[in-house]
Amino acid sequence: MRRPFGRCILDSGFGAPHDAPMPHDHPDHPHSLLPSDPALRVKALETILVRKGLVDPAAMDEILDTYERKVGPHLGAKVVARAWSDPAFRDRLLADATAAIAELGISGRQGEHVVAVENTPDTHNMVVCTLCSCYPWPLLGIPPAWYKSDAYRARAVREPRKVLAEFGVSLPDGQKVRVWDSTAEVRYLVVPMRPEGSEGLDEAALSDLVSRDSMIGTGLAGASK
């Protein structure tokens, strides 16, 4: 064994020497047997899993192709643009978003149970997952790093307006903030307010006004895309 447990015992508890040259803290955790460099760690796991017939390398390519090229916020933007253009679709979206997005061919992993929440002059909605990084993948793709950051997870619930200011968003007086902490398998899509001056636009042009952040609630539609 390349890294005997004994070396790590010293560093296993609070108050133990923190700077000891040990890659990981917990001697009970098998992951500490892997190399400490993350790239080498991943390489080792990949080698093991592929050699043992537990992972198909072509499946890895397929997964990456899905989330690097096919699934992303352009899909959520299509839903929002449709809701802005078609009042009957908007009503169906707010009543049962999972069924409504399926009309547009959108469904899947981390979007099995979707709820759409609409911004109004009275209420601005904003989504977070304080416990991990739950996010509506089929509508928005992979979450941005900030969404997964400790800073967003810790602060969005207590000081949403300060966080919004960091995104350049300031809300008018009288508009309350409702922060949705995604603690279950329900995934939230924010339907931003339709920007003024967009009356004559068709769905394709409208969807260009819908940024990823506006569907998480840290941006406004039409602001920056």
Binding site: M1, H24, H26, H29, P30, H31, L33, L34, A39, R41, V42, K43, L45, E46, T47, L49, R51, K52, G53, L54, V55, D56, A58, A59, M60, I63, L64, T66, Y67, E68, H74, S107, G108, E112, V115, T130, L131, G141, W146, K148, S149, D150, A151, Y152, R153, A154, V157, R158, K162, E166, K176, R178, V179, W180, D181, T183, A184, E185, R212, D213
Partner: protein
Amino acid sequence: MTRVHDMGGRYGDPAVIPEPQGIVPIGPEWHRKALALTLAAGGLGAWSIDTSRHARESLSPKDYARFSYYEKWMAALADLLVEKGLVTKDELAAGTAEPAGAHPKLFRAEAVGPALKRGSPYTRPGAEPAFAPGDRVRTRLPARNADIPGGHTRLPAYAAGQTGTVILSHGAHVLPDANAHGLGERPEPLYTVAFTAADLWGEAEGEGDEVTLDLWQSYLVPA
């Protein structure tokens, strides 16, 4: 007691740094591999999403705090693979393994598209909800797994012992507190409950501000 992942409302974190809009670049090659390996190995069906979240939360607080996002994924994946008997500690230490044939549940490339498109719904047949939108409810105090000391739960500490109003009723969903520990799915009615920011934090940042959480019935009592 809480775990380090339960950070909602914590003080002291820095500013949030926005990123460009559009599809998010996954990052350096090892991030791409970490994401793909985690989903591909998850496709074996050897563990649930609840088990996998619990594995990430069970990293030591120091590892959790200093590991980047995909390092947490990798660590949890390695731990789960050993726990489920799919990989041995010796193989992890060696960084390689003897070649073997395809596992009977290997997640093959041709299955990826349909599986990602299908997802795994978490609704189940179950009891009728005891609460309805408009009902006032109080959450469990302290936030904890009622069956397993230190076990997985989805009630954050900041919302424990608080009184709020049911605003949505989602039907019965798999209970993570049980499913994460192999105790069965034990579906329970799931609700979205709204709390005033003033109640949660002592004072609201803005008048009328609220926080909602998705909470299972056993987390709640009538208020």
